[in-house]
Protein backbone atom coordinates (compact mmCIF):
# COMPACT_ATOMS: atom_id res chain seq x y z
CA UNK A 1 0.00 0.00 0.00
CA UNK A 2 2.73 2.41 0.94
CA UNK A 3 3.98 3.92 -2.26
CA UNK A 4 7.41 5.28 -1.61
CA UNK A 5 8.09 4.42 -5.19
CA UNK A 6 11.42 5.38 -6.77
CA UNK A 7 11.25 8.87 -8.12
CA UNK A 8 13.36 10.74 -10.65
CA UNK A 9 16.40 11.67 -8.54
CA UNK A 10 15.92 15.42 -8.73
CA UNK A 11 17.98 17.29 -6.15
CA UNK A 12 16.21 17.28 -2.83
CA UNK A 13 15.07 20.70 -1.81
CA UNK A 14 13.64 20.04 1.60
CA UNK A 15 14.79 17.49 4.13
CA UNK A 16 12.90 17.04 7.35
CA UNK A 17 14.81 14.68 9.56
CA UNK A 18 13.23 13.10 12.67
CA UNK A 19 11.64 16.35 13.77
CA UNK A 20 9.68 16.55 17.02
CA UNK A 21 7.88 19.56 18.38
CA UNK A 22 5.76 20.02 21.47
CA UNK A 23 3.77 22.96 22.76
CA UNK A 24 2.93 23.94 26.29
CA UNK A 25 -0.76 24.64 26.73
CA UNK A 26 -2.85 25.30 29.81
CA UNK A 27 -3.44 21.56 30.01
CA UNK A 28 0.21 20.68 29.90
CA UNK A 29 2.60 19.72 27.15
CA UNK A 30 1.23 18.49 23.83
CA UNK A 31 3.38 16.57 21.39
CA UNK A 32 2.35 18.16 18.11
CA UNK A 33 4.81 16.30 15.96
CA UNK A 34 6.73 13.12 16.71
CA UNK A 35 9.82 12.05 14.81
CA UNK A 36 8.58 13.20 11.45
CA UNK A 37 10.82 12.64 8.45
CA UNK A 38 10.14 13.72 4.89
CA UNK A 39 12.14 14.62 1.82
CA UNK A 40 10.70 16.81 -0.86
CA UNK A 41 12.27 16.98 -4.28
CA UNK A 42 12.86 20.18 -6.17
CA UNK A 43 9.67 21.33 -7.83
CA UNK A 44 7.58 18.66 -6.21
CA UNK A 45 3.99 19.32 -5.15
CA UNK A 46 3.42 17.55 -1.84
CA UNK A 47 0.13 17.58 0.06
CA UNK A 48 0.16 17.07 3.80
CA UNK A 49 -3.14 15.46 4.70
CA UNK A 50 -4.72 14.65 8.04
CA UNK A 51 -7.35 15.60 10.59
CA UNK A 52 -6.85 18.59 12.88
CA UNK A 53 -4.23 18.17 15.56
CA UNK A 54 -2.07 15.89 13.45
CA UNK A 55 0.86 18.28 13.25
CA UNK A 56 0.68 19.08 9.55
CA UNK A 57 0.48 22.82 10.12
CA UNK A 58 3.22 22.57 12.72
CA UNK A 59 5.43 20.92 10.14
CA UNK A 60 4.67 23.75 7.71
CA UNK A 61 5.59 26.37 10.31
CA UNK A 62 8.84 24.55 11.00
CA UNK A 63 9.73 24.54 7.33
CA UNK A 64 8.81 28.22 7.14
CA UNK A 65 11.15 28.89 10.05
CA UNK A 66 8.35 30.53 12.05
CA UNK A 67 8.98 27.92 14.71
CA UNK A 68 12.01 25.81 15.59
CA UNK A 69 11.99 22.03 16.19
CA UNK A 70 12.71 20.60 19.66
CA UNK A 71 14.74 17.79 18.14
CA UNK A 72 15.68 16.84 14.60
CA UNK A 73 16.38 19.24 11.79
CA UNK A 74 14.77 20.97 8.84
CA UNK A 75 17.07 21.75 5.92
CA UNK A 76 16.33 23.63 2.73
CA UNK A 77 18.93 23.21 -0.01
CA UNK A 78 21.28 21.70 2.52
CA UNK A 79 21.06 24.63 4.90
CA UNK A 80 19.41 24.31 8.30
CA UNK A 81 16.31 26.47 8.63
CA UNK A 82 16.69 28.78 11.61
CA UNK A 83 14.42 31.70 10.70
CA UNK A 84 11.87 32.66 8.07
CA UNK A 85 13.23 33.59 4.68
CA UNK A 86 11.87 34.92 1.43
CA UNK A 87 12.91 31.77 -0.42
CA UNK A 88 10.17 29.96 1.55
CA UNK A 89 6.95 31.95 1.25
CA UNK A 90 3.81 31.08 3.12
CA UNK A 91 0.09 31.37 2.36
CA UNK A 92 -2.47 31.16 5.14
CA UNK A 93 -6.10 30.13 5.43
CA UNK A 94 -7.03 33.74 6.01
CA UNK A 95 -5.42 35.69 3.23
CA UNK A 96 -3.31 37.70 5.74
CA UNK A 97 -3.32 40.57 3.26
CA UNK A 98 -2.65 43.96 4.83
CA UNK A 99 -5.83 46.08 4.92
CA UNK A 100 -3.87 49.35 5.10
CA UNK A 101 -2.40 48.74 1.63
CA UNK A 102 -4.19 48.35 -1.68
CA UNK A 103 -3.78 45.25 -3.85
CA UNK A 104 -0.65 46.49 -5.59
CA UNK A 105 0.83 47.67 -2.29
CA UNK A 106 0.37 44.20 -0.86
CA UNK A 107 2.16 42.51 -3.73
CA UNK A 108 4.93 45.12 -3.57
CA UNK A 109 5.48 44.55 0.15
CA UNK A 110 7.85 41.57 -0.13
CA UNK A 111 9.51 43.09 -3.20
CA UNK A 112 10.41 46.24 -1.29
CA UNK A 113 12.21 44.06 1.23
CA UNK A 114 14.28 42.46 -1.49
CA UNK A 115 17.47 44.35 -2.13
CA UNK A 116 18.81 45.18 -5.54
CA UNK A 117 15.51 45.85 -7.26
CA UNK A 118 14.73 49.19 -8.87
CA UNK A 119 11.30 50.73 -8.41
CA UNK A 120 10.49 49.86 -12.00
CA UNK A 121 11.56 46.25 -11.64
CA UNK A 122 9.43 45.94 -8.51
CA UNK A 123 6.44 47.40 -10.28
CA UNK A 124 6.88 45.21 -13.33
CA UNK A 125 7.19 42.10 -11.18
CA UNK A 126 4.07 42.95 -9.19
CA UNK A 127 2.15 43.62 -12.38
CA UNK A 128 3.33 40.35 -13.89
CA UNK A 129 2.11 38.28 -10.95
CA UNK A 130 -1.17 40.13 -10.63
CA UNK A 131 -1.74 39.36 -14.27
CA UNK A 132 -0.79 35.71 -13.68
CA UNK A 133 -3.56 35.39 -11.11
CA UNK A 134 -5.93 37.37 -13.32
CA UNK A 135 -6.30 40.44 -11.14
CA UNK A 136 -4.38 43.14 -12.99
CA UNK A 137 -7.59 45.16 -13.21
CA UNK A 138 -7.88 45.25 -9.42
CA UNK A 139 -4.46 46.72 -8.67
CA UNK A 140 -5.87 49.81 -7.00
CA UNK A 141 -8.66 48.01 -5.17
CA UNK A 142 -8.84 47.92 -1.42
CA UNK A 143 -8.60 44.52 0.22
CA UNK A 144 -12.11 44.65 1.69
CA UNK A 145 -13.53 45.13 -1.80
CA UNK A 146 -12.31 41.69 -2.91
CA UNK A 147 -14.14 38.40 -2.61
CA UNK A 148 -12.58 35.53 -0.65
CA UNK A 149 -11.28 33.89 -3.81
CA UNK A 150 -9.78 37.12 -5.11
CA UNK A 151 -8.06 37.70 -1.78
CA UNK A 152 -6.38 34.30 -1.99
CA UNK A 153 -5.30 35.07 -5.55
CA UNK A 154 -3.68 38.29 -4.37
CA UNK A 155 -2.06 36.34 -1.54
CA UNK A 156 -0.74 33.88 -4.12
CA UNK A 157 0.64 36.71 -6.26
CA UNK A 158 2.25 38.23 -3.15
CA UNK A 159 3.80 34.88 -2.24
CA UNK A 160 5.15 34.26 -5.75
CA UNK A 161 6.41 37.78 -6.41
CA UNK A 162 9.73 37.58 -4.52
CA UNK A 163 10.54 34.43 -6.47
CA UNK A 164 10.53 31.88 -3.65
CA UNK A 165 11.90 28.38 -4.12
CA UNK A 166 9.31 26.87 -1.83
CA UNK A 167 5.67 27.77 -1.42
CA UNK A 168 4.08 26.74 1.86
CA UNK A 169 0.29 26.71 1.77
CA UNK A 170 -1.69 26.24 4.97
CA UNK A 171 -5.23 25.25 3.95
CA UNK A 172 -5.37 28.28 1.68
CA UNK A 173 -8.71 27.42 0.11
CA UNK A 174 -10.51 25.96 3.12
CA UNK A 175 -12.61 29.06 3.75
CA UNK A 176 -13.84 29.40 0.15
CA UNK A 177 -17.00 28.10 -1.46
CA UNK A 178 -16.77 24.99 -3.62
CA UNK A 179 -17.04 26.76 -6.98
CA UNK A 180 -14.33 29.29 -6.23
CA UNK A 181 -12.18 26.54 -4.81
CA UNK A 182 -12.36 24.46 -7.98
CA UNK A 183 -11.40 27.49 -10.03
CA UNK A 184 -8.40 28.05 -7.81
CA UNK A 185 -7.32 24.38 -8.11
CA UNK A 186 -7.15 24.97 -11.84
CA UNK A 187 -5.27 28.24 -11.43
CA UNK A 188 -2.80 26.79 -8.98
CA UNK A 189 -1.99 23.82 -11.23
CA UNK A 190 -1.60 26.12 -14.24
CA UNK A 191 0.68 28.51 -12.36
CA UNK A 192 2.69 25.68 -10.85
CA UNK A 193 3.33 24.17 -14.30
CA UNK A 194 4.43 27.59 -15.60
CA UNK A 195 6.52 28.57 -12.67
CA UNK A 196 8.03 25.52 -11.10
CA UNK A 197 8.28 25.88 -7.37
CA UNK A 198 8.31 23.30 -4.61
CA UNK A 199 4.94 23.29 -2.88
CA UNK A 200 3.97 21.96 0.52
CA UNK A 201 0.20 22.12 0.74
CA UNK A 202 -1.61 21.42 4.01
CA UNK A 203 -5.21 20.23 3.80
CA UNK A 204 -7.76 18.01 5.49
CA UNK A 205 -9.65 17.49 2.25
CA UNK A 206 -8.69 14.15 0.65
CA UNK A 207 -9.91 14.96 -2.86
CA UNK A 208 -8.18 18.31 -2.76
CA UNK A 209 -4.93 16.58 -1.85
CA UNK A 210 -5.32 14.01 -4.62
CA UNK A 211 -6.19 16.51 -7.31
CA UNK A 212 -3.23 18.76 -6.48
CA UNK A 213 -0.33 16.69 -5.21
CA UNK A 214 2.38 14.62 -6.84
CA UNK A 215 2.47 12.95 -3.49
CA UNK A 216 0.07 12.85 -0.57
CA UNK A 217 1.57 12.44 2.90
CA UNK A 218 -0.85 11.08 5.46
CA UNK A 219 -0.68 12.24 9.09
CA UNK A 220 -2.45 10.92 12.18
CA UNK A 221 -3.04 12.84 15.41
CA UNK A 222 -2.18 12.47 19.12
CA UNK A 223 0.74 12.64 18.77
CA UNK A 224 1.13 14.03 15.27
CA UNK A 225 2.92 11.50 13.09
CA UNK A 226 3.55 10.80 9.43
CA UNK A 227 1.91 7.45 8.61
CA UNK A 228 1.93 6.79 4.90
CA UNK A 229 2.71 8.30 1.54
CA UNK A 230 0.79 7.96 -1.70
CA UNK A 231 2.14 8.85 -5.08
CA UNK A 232 -0.53 10.28 -7.36
CA UNK A 233 0.41 9.64 -10.94
CA UNK A 234 -2.40 11.28 -12.82
CA UNK A 235 -2.00 13.61 -15.80
CA UNK A 236 -2.53 17.34 -15.19
CA UNK A 237 -4.58 19.38 -15.10
CA UNK A 238 -6.67 17.17 -12.87
CA UNK A 239 -10.36 17.61 -12.28
CA UNK A 240 -11.43 17.13 -8.70
CA UNK A 241 -14.69 15.56 -9.91
CA UNK A 242 -13.03 12.92 -12.10
CA UNK A 243 -13.35 9.20 -11.45
CA UNK A 244 -9.57 8.76 -11.18
CA UNK A 245 -9.30 11.36 -8.44
CA UNK A 246 -12.25 9.77 -6.66
CA UNK A 247 -10.61 6.34 -6.83
CA UNK A 248 -7.38 7.57 -5.25
CA UNK A 249 -9.35 9.52 -2.70
CA UNK A 250 -11.30 6.43 -1.66
CA UNK A 251 -8.10 4.50 -1.19
CA UNK A 252 -6.54 7.24 0.93
CA UNK A 253 -9.69 7.80 2.97
CA UNK A 254 -9.75 4.12 3.82
CA UNK A 255 -6.14 4.27 4.97
CA UNK A 256 -6.88 7.41 6.98
CA UNK A 257 -9.78 5.75 8.78
CA UNK A 258 -7.59 2.74 9.51
CA UNK A 259 -4.96 4.92 11.18
CA UNK A 260 -7.55 6.84 13.16
CA UNK A 261 -9.12 3.62 14.52
CA UNK A 262 -5.71 2.24 15.32
CA UNK A 263 -4.97 5.46 17.22
CA UNK A 264 -8.30 5.27 19.08
CA UNK A 265 -7.75 1.67 20.26
CA UNK A 266 -4.19 2.45 21.28
CA UNK A 267 -5.38 5.25 23.59
Amino acid sequence: MTTTAPFAPAPSKLAIDRVSKSFTTSRGSVLALQEASLTVAEGEFVCLLGPSGCGKSTLLNLVAGLELPDTGSVTADGKIVREPGRERMMMFQESALFPWLDVLGNVLFPLKLKSGLSAKERNDTAHYYLKLVGLEKFMDANIHELSGGMKQRVALARALAPNPRVLLMDEPFAALDAMTREQLYGDLQRIWTQRHVTILFVTHNVREAVSLGDRVVLFSPHPGRIREEFRIELPRPRDINSVEVAAHATRITRALKGHLQEGATAE
Binding site: L66, M90, E94
Partner: protein, 256 residues
Protein backbone atom coordinates in the same frame (compact mmCIF):
# COMPACT_ATOMS: atom_id res chain seq x y z
CA UNK B 1 -22.37 70.09 -0.73
CA UNK B 2 -25.97 69.22 -0.02
CA UNK B 3 -25.05 68.12 3.49
CA UNK B 4 -23.13 71.32 4.06
CA UNK B 5 -26.17 73.30 2.95
CA UNK B 6 -28.41 71.33 5.31
CA UNK B 7 -26.09 72.12 8.19
CA UNK B 8 -26.00 75.81 7.24
CA UNK B 9 -29.78 76.07 7.08
CA UNK B 10 -30.05 74.36 10.44
CA UNK B 11 -27.68 76.84 12.08
CA UNK B 12 -29.36 79.79 10.39
CA UNK B 13 -32.70 78.65 11.80
CA UNK B 14 -31.20 78.24 15.26
CA UNK B 15 -29.82 81.80 15.21
CA UNK B 16 -33.12 83.06 13.75
CA UNK B 17 -35.17 81.62 16.62
CA UNK B 18 -32.70 83.02 19.13
CA UNK B 19 -32.83 86.50 17.57
CA UNK B 20 -36.62 86.36 17.43
CA UNK B 21 -36.82 85.38 21.11
CA UNK B 22 -34.58 88.32 22.02
CA UNK B 23 -36.77 90.74 20.04
CA UNK B 24 -39.82 89.50 21.83
CA UNK B 25 -37.97 90.33 25.05
CA UNK B 26 -38.37 86.94 26.75
CA UNK B 27 -35.20 87.49 28.79
CA UNK B 28 -33.25 90.47 29.93
CA UNK B 29 -30.54 91.35 27.37
CA UNK B 30 -28.05 91.16 30.26
CA UNK B 31 -28.81 87.47 30.74
CA UNK B 32 -29.20 86.51 27.09
CA UNK B 33 -27.74 88.93 24.57
CA UNK B 34 -29.05 88.75 21.03
CA UNK B 35 -27.04 87.11 18.24
CA UNK B 36 -26.65 90.53 16.68
CA UNK B 37 -25.05 91.81 19.90
CA UNK B 38 -22.69 88.80 20.00
CA UNK B 39 -21.75 89.32 16.37
CA UNK B 40 -21.09 92.98 17.10
CA UNK B 41 -18.76 92.07 19.94
CA UNK B 42 -16.91 89.52 17.80
CA UNK B 43 -16.57 92.07 15.00
CA UNK B 44 -15.15 94.71 17.34
CA UNK B 45 -12.80 92.26 19.03
CA UNK B 46 -11.62 91.06 15.65
CA UNK B 47 -11.03 94.61 14.44
CA UNK B 48 -9.09 95.59 17.55
CA UNK B 49 -6.94 92.49 17.09
CA UNK B 50 -7.73 91.17 20.59
CA UNK B 51 -9.62 88.18 19.27
CA UNK B 52 -6.96 87.17 16.75
CA UNK B 53 -4.25 87.42 19.39
CA UNK B 54 -6.24 85.31 21.84
CA UNK B 55 -6.93 82.66 19.21
CA UNK B 56 -3.24 82.53 18.35
CA UNK B 57 -2.15 82.24 21.97
CA UNK B 58 -4.62 79.46 22.68
CA UNK B 59 -3.90 77.52 19.50
CA UNK B 60 -0.17 77.75 20.06
CA UNK B 61 -0.53 76.27 23.53
CA UNK B 62 -2.91 73.62 22.36
CA UNK B 63 -0.98 72.47 19.29
CA UNK B 64 2.42 72.52 20.97
CA UNK B 65 1.15 70.53 23.97
CA UNK B 66 -0.84 68.18 21.80
CA UNK B 67 2.02 67.27 19.49
CA UNK B 68 4.43 66.83 22.38
CA UNK B 69 1.82 64.51 23.89
CA UNK B 70 1.64 62.46 20.70
CA UNK B 71 5.38 62.28 20.17
CA UNK B 72 5.87 61.07 23.71
CA UNK B 73 2.73 58.98 23.99
CA UNK B 74 3.02 56.97 20.79
CA UNK B 75 6.45 55.38 21.43
CA UNK B 76 5.63 54.85 25.10
CA UNK B 77 2.40 53.08 24.10
CA UNK B 78 4.29 50.84 21.66
CA UNK B 79 6.90 49.99 24.29
CA UNK B 80 4.21 49.17 26.83
CA UNK B 81 2.54 46.84 24.36
CA UNK B 82 5.86 45.13 23.71
CA UNK B 83 7.19 44.65 27.24
CA UNK B 84 5.04 43.11 29.92
CA UNK B 85 7.10 44.75 32.66
CA UNK B 86 6.36 48.21 31.28
CA UNK B 87 2.70 47.29 30.87
CA UNK B 88 2.44 46.33 34.53
CA UNK B 89 4.15 49.53 35.67
CA UNK B 90 3.86 52.50 33.33
CA UNK B 91 0.76 51.02 31.74
CA UNK B 92 -1.00 50.98 35.08
CA UNK B 93 0.14 54.54 35.77
CA UNK B 94 -1.21 55.66 32.38
CA UNK B 95 -4.56 54.02 33.07
CA UNK B 96 -4.82 55.80 36.39
CA UNK B 97 -3.75 59.21 35.16
CA UNK B 98 -5.96 59.02 32.08
CA UNK B 99 -8.94 59.02 34.37
CA UNK B 100 -7.70 62.14 36.15
CA UNK B 101 -9.04 65.37 34.60
CA UNK B 102 -5.84 67.14 33.68
CA UNK B 103 -7.05 70.45 35.10
CA UNK B 104 -6.21 68.85 38.45
CA UNK B 105 -2.58 69.41 37.49
CA UNK B 106 -3.07 73.19 37.39
CA UNK B 107 -2.15 73.94 41.04
CA UNK B 108 1.07 71.94 40.74
CA UNK B 109 1.86 73.35 37.32
CA UNK B 110 1.54 76.90 38.66
CA UNK B 111 3.78 76.12 41.57
CA UNK B 112 6.41 74.48 39.39
CA UNK B 113 6.38 76.76 36.37
CA UNK B 114 4.70 79.95 37.57
CA UNK B 115 2.03 81.77 35.57
CA UNK B 116 3.79 80.98 32.30
CA UNK B 117 3.37 79.18 29.00
CA UNK B 118 5.21 76.20 30.43
CA UNK B 119 2.47 75.68 32.98
CA UNK B 120 -0.17 75.68 30.24
CA UNK B 121 1.92 73.38 28.10
CA UNK B 122 2.31 70.96 30.98
CA UNK B 123 -1.44 70.80 31.56
CA UNK B 124 -2.14 70.18 27.87
CA UNK B 125 0.52 67.47 27.61
CA UNK B 126 -0.92 65.74 30.67
CA UNK B 127 -4.33 65.86 29.01
CA UNK B 128 -3.08 64.31 25.78
CA UNK B 129 -0.36 61.87 26.56
CA UNK B 130 -2.18 59.17 28.53
CA UNK B 131 -4.97 58.71 26.00
CA UNK B 132 -2.41 58.34 23.25
CA UNK B 133 -0.34 55.87 25.29
CA UNK B 134 -3.36 53.69 26.01
CA UNK B 135 -4.70 53.87 22.47
CA UNK B 136 -1.34 52.86 21.00
CA UNK B 137 -1.09 49.98 23.44
CA UNK B 138 -4.62 48.74 22.70
CA UNK B 139 -4.00 49.15 18.99
CA UNK B 140 -0.85 47.05 19.04
CA UNK B 141 -2.40 44.37 21.17
CA UNK B 142 -5.29 44.07 18.73
CA UNK B 143 -3.10 43.51 15.70
CA UNK B 144 -3.91 40.14 14.17
CA UNK B 145 -0.77 38.01 14.76
CA UNK B 146 -1.10 36.56 11.28
CA UNK B 147 0.03 39.91 9.82
CA UNK B 148 3.28 39.65 11.74
CA UNK B 149 3.77 36.03 10.71
CA UNK B 150 3.12 36.86 7.07
CA UNK B 151 5.51 39.81 7.25
CA UNK B 152 8.21 37.63 8.80
CA UNK B 153 8.02 35.09 6.00
CA UNK B 154 8.39 37.98 3.56
CA UNK B 155 11.66 38.91 5.19
CA UNK B 156 10.46 41.70 7.47
CA UNK B 157 12.34 42.04 10.78
CA UNK B 158 12.21 44.03 14.04
CA UNK B 159 12.03 47.71 13.19
CA UNK B 160 10.55 47.05 9.79
CA UNK B 161 7.77 44.97 11.34
CA UNK B 162 7.02 47.69 13.88
CA UNK B 163 6.97 50.56 11.42
CA UNK B 164 5.49 48.86 8.37
CA UNK B 165 3.15 46.32 9.92
CA UNK B 166 2.25 46.84 13.57
CA UNK B 167 1.95 50.63 13.42
CA UNK B 168 -0.29 50.78 10.33
CA UNK B 169 -2.30 47.80 11.54
CA UNK B 170 -3.11 49.62 14.77
CA UNK B 171 -3.94 52.93 13.06
CA UNK B 172 -7.71 52.72 13.63
CA UNK B 173 -7.10 52.58 17.38
CA UNK B 174 -4.36 55.17 17.31
CA UNK B 175 -6.44 57.70 15.40
CA UNK B 176 -9.34 57.38 17.80
CA UNK B 177 -6.90 57.74 20.69
CA UNK B 178 -5.47 60.88 19.11
CA UNK B 179 -8.97 62.24 18.77
CA UNK B 180 -9.71 61.55 22.40
CA UNK B 181 -6.38 63.09 23.37
CA UNK B 182 -7.32 66.20 21.43
CA UNK B 183 -10.64 66.48 23.22
CA UNK B 184 -8.98 66.11 26.61
CA UNK B 185 -6.24 68.60 25.76
CA UNK B 186 -8.77 71.16 24.56
CA UNK B 187 -10.97 70.87 27.64
CA UNK B 188 -8.10 71.01 30.08
CA UNK B 189 -6.56 74.03 28.39
CA UNK B 190 -9.87 75.92 28.54
CA UNK B 191 -10.36 75.04 32.18
CA UNK B 192 -6.82 76.18 32.96
CA UNK B 193 -7.15 79.43 31.01
CA UNK B 194 -10.42 80.35 32.69
CA UNK B 195 -9.13 79.28 36.06
CA UNK B 196 -5.84 81.21 36.18
CA UNK B 197 -4.46 84.34 34.61
CA UNK B 198 -1.34 83.56 32.64
CA UNK B 199 0.99 86.53 32.51
CA UNK B 200 2.67 85.59 29.25
CA UNK B 201 -0.44 85.86 27.10
CA UNK B 202 -4.21 86.16 27.10
CA UNK B 203 -5.91 83.21 25.46
CA UNK B 204 -9.55 82.61 24.66
CA UNK B 205 -10.17 81.23 28.13
CA UNK B 206 -8.96 84.47 29.66
CA UNK B 207 -11.23 86.49 27.37
CA UNK B 208 -14.17 84.37 28.49
CA UNK B 209 -13.18 84.90 32.10
CA UNK B 210 -12.96 88.66 31.46
CA UNK B 211 -16.45 88.62 29.96
CA UNK B 212 -17.74 87.10 33.17
CA UNK B 213 -15.97 89.71 35.30
CA UNK B 214 -17.44 92.52 33.20
CA UNK B 215 -20.86 90.85 33.14
CA UNK B 216 -20.58 91.05 29.33
CA UNK B 217 -22.47 87.93 28.30
CA UNK B 218 -22.11 88.80 24.62
CA UNK B 219 -18.37 88.37 25.15
CA UNK B 220 -18.84 85.05 26.97
CA UNK B 221 -21.11 83.71 24.25
CA UNK B 222 -18.89 85.16 21.52
CA UNK B 223 -15.87 83.34 22.90
CA UNK B 224 -17.89 80.15 23.35
CA UNK B 225 -18.82 80.48 19.70
CA UNK B 226 -15.13 80.73 18.79
CA UNK B 227 -14.36 77.62 20.85
CA UNK B 228 -17.04 75.63 19.08
CA UNK B 229 -15.77 76.88 15.74
CA UNK B 230 -12.19 75.86 16.49
CA UNK B 231 -13.36 72.45 17.71
CA UNK B 232 -15.32 71.85 14.53
CA UNK B 233 -12.50 73.06 12.31
CA UNK B 234 -9.99 70.85 14.10
CA UNK B 235 -12.21 67.85 13.59
CA UNK B 236 -12.76 68.62 9.92
CA UNK B 237 -9.14 69.48 9.14
CA UNK B 238 -7.17 67.17 11.41
CA UNK B 239 -9.25 64.05 11.93
CA UNK B 240 -11.87 63.77 9.20
CA UNK B 241 -9.37 63.12 6.39
CA UNK B 242 -7.72 60.35 8.41
CA UNK B 243 -10.98 58.78 9.40
CA UNK B 244 -12.28 58.94 5.86
CA UNK B 245 -9.14 57.26 4.59
CA UNK B 246 -9.33 54.57 7.27
CA UNK B 247 -12.97 53.83 6.53
CA UNK B 248 -12.28 53.71 2.84
CA UNK B 249 -9.26 51.44 3.15
CA UNK B 250 -10.50 49.13 5.87
CA UNK B 251 -14.05 49.08 4.53
CA UNK B 252 -15.48 50.05 7.90
CA UNK B 253 -17.93 52.57 6.45
CA UNK B 254 -20.10 49.96 4.82
CA UNK B 255 -21.90 49.06 8.04
CA UNK B 256 -24.23 52.04 7.80
Amino acid sequence: MKRFLTAMIFFALLVGVWQWACWRGFWSPVLVPSPARVAEYLWEAALSGDLGRAVLVTLKRLLAGYFIGIFVGLPVGLLIARFRFLRDTIGMLALGLQGLPSVCWVPLALLWFGQTESAMLFVVVMGTVWSVVLAAETGVRNVNPIYVRAARTMGSRWMHIWIRVILPASLPFIVSGMKQGWAFAWRSLMAAEIFVTILTGAGLGYMLHLGRELLAMEQVIGIMFMLVLIGLLADKLMFSPWEKWLHHRWGTDRAT
